[in-house]
């Protein structure tokens, strides 16, 4: 059977991997290729590189580091941030990325998803969604979350957007639950389960991983296909081989 995936997320700023808490106060944690190789060796199933400055600054992803990663890495990887048209996506895919992920530009112009799916096939097109629960109890999407100065709250309900992006050609959805992000209190199981119920494409959970039990919960309860995490992997608090052993011992199928 298809195994559940563990995906370290590497936030990239100016060609270096960085991490902040709740999308702020970023510190450098290492070189892209070094970290990519380390995670590959530890058994990561996939990698996501998120260029956190490209999107808010209206820049495109720097193709050079994508190519450097593609040369050495033999597991799939996805590039996110700053992809706002088919040409930019083609650059990144031709540089060797397996998938491209769009978030804010898809909110600006939803037909971008249709164009990407038509040009490259849905299997390349990942839609990232940053979502927050508001005072009225509804989950709504946020835009430009890479830049606290520009971050915007939108009227769009998260569940509506999940349905729409699939209709437009999303081949995978990454749901980043912002209430949980960076604070290691566990994935937002309630929100992920709600999204799962209207998501027929693979669903990647993001935001909140702090302990092995959180991963077990996101697979066994929220039924996510993959779990993305950053700080617990970067800090070494959780090692991927140990996590895979724990999941396998708890009847979650993982790649050995």
């Amino acid at each position: 059977m298809l195994t559940r995936r563990l995906i370290p997320c590497l936030d990239v700023r100016d060609g270096r991997v960085v991490k902040g808490v709740r999308f702020r106060d970023h510190v450098v944690v290492g070189d892209i290729v070094d970290l990519a190789l380390r995670y590959r060796d530890e058994g990561a199933d996939e990698l996501v590189f998120y260029d956190i400055t490209a999107s808010p600054q209206g820049r495109s992803v720097d193709r050079a580091w994508v190519e450097r990663v593609a040369r050495v890495i033999d597991i799939p990887f996805c590039v996110a941030g700053g992809i706002r048209d088919v040409d930019a996506a083609r650059q990144v895919l031709h540089a060797g990325a397996d998938k491209i992920s769009v978030n804010s530009p898809a909110l600006e112009r939803p037909s971008l998803i249709d164009e990407l799916a038509a040009a490259f096939g849905v299997q390349c097109v990942v839609v990232g969604i940053d979502s927050l629960r508001e005072a009225d109890g509804e989950w709504r999407v946020r835009q430009y979350t890479g830049d606290p100065e520009r971050m915007q709250a939108l009227a769009r309900r998260t569940l509506d957007w999940v349905v729409e992006v699939q209709q437009r050609g999303a081949g995978e959805i990454v749901l980043n639950c912002m209430d949980a992000d960076g604070v290691r209190g566990g994935y937002d199981i309630e929100q992920l389960a709600a999204v799962r119920s209207c998501c027929g494409v693979p669903l990647v959970a993001s935001g909140g991983a702090g302990a092995p039990a959180h991963f077990l919960e996101v697979f066994a309860v929220a039924d996510a296909d993959a779990a993305l995490a950053a700080s617990v992997f970067h800090s070494g608090a959780i090692r991927i081989p140990d996590l895979k052993r724990f999941l396998a011992d708890n009847q979650v199928e993982v790649r050995p």
């Binding site: 059977m1 593609a70 081949g171 027929g200 494409v201 993959a226």
Partner: protein, 199 residues
């Protein structure tokens, strides 16, 4: 391996770079070409592919490669969409394919438990002894990303279980196919590519 003269057929797929890098990691430098004579002279031919069947076949037709590819007698490997194009027909865009391996490509039917695309690492279940599968362990996993598939059948060397048995590795005469991405399947993928180069 100095005798290997490998050509990657440029069918417009976006994974050509990844496949080329994977071969470079094995010490083999592949030429990317859509030139019929160049392809015919190669010792090994790889048809990579990501995208849709219709545009993929259209591109091969425009490059004048349909008959060339059909007539090849050296080892040929189709990867992902490239494997699907080896079959007779694809439901995707109702496309007539190369027809060098018997079989039909159909859409994977989704359900609550069976998400489409089939995306991620799935186990390779070996069905037949074949040199292409040499060194493959009992618990070998490969990385799949596809919405269309061929049901496991006569020419299937290894299948994968996604609600039903799907063809993962196929071979008919000199035509080999891998539905997953060997270039992104870690040590398992590297071993399979090496086996193909040794064929």
């Amino acid at each position: 391996m100095s005798a290997v003269e490998l050509v990657l057929v440029d069918a417009g797929g976006t994974n050509i770079g990844s496949v080329r890098y994977a071969l470079e990691r094995l010490g083999v430098f592949a030429e990317v070409s859509d030139d019929a004579q160049r392809i015919a002279r190669a010792t090994h031919v790889i048809l990579p592919g990501v995208g849709a069947a219709g545009p993929g076949m259209q591109r091969l037709r425009e490059a004048g490669l349909i008959d060339v590819l059909r007539g090849l007698s050296q080892p040929v490997l189709g990867v992902c969409l490239g494997m699907q194009l080896l079959f007779e027909h694809s439901e995707e865009g109702d496309t007539t394919c190369l027809g060098v391996v018997p079989g039909q490509v159909r859409r994977i039917e989704g359900s609550a438990r069976r998400r489409v695309p089939h995306m991620g690492w799935n186990r390779l279940d070996v069905l037949t002894d074949d040199p292409l599968l040499g060194g493959l362990g009992a618990d070998a996993h490969a990385y799949f990303v596809h919405s269309y598939a061929v049901a496991s059948a006569a020419h299937t060397l290894a299948s994968t279980d996604y609600g039903s048995a799907l063809a993962a590795i196929v071979r008919h005469r000199n035509f080999h196919g891998m539905q997953f991405h060997p270039e992104r399947s870690a040590a398992v993928g590297a071993r399979l590519l090496r086996n193909f180069l040794d064929s």
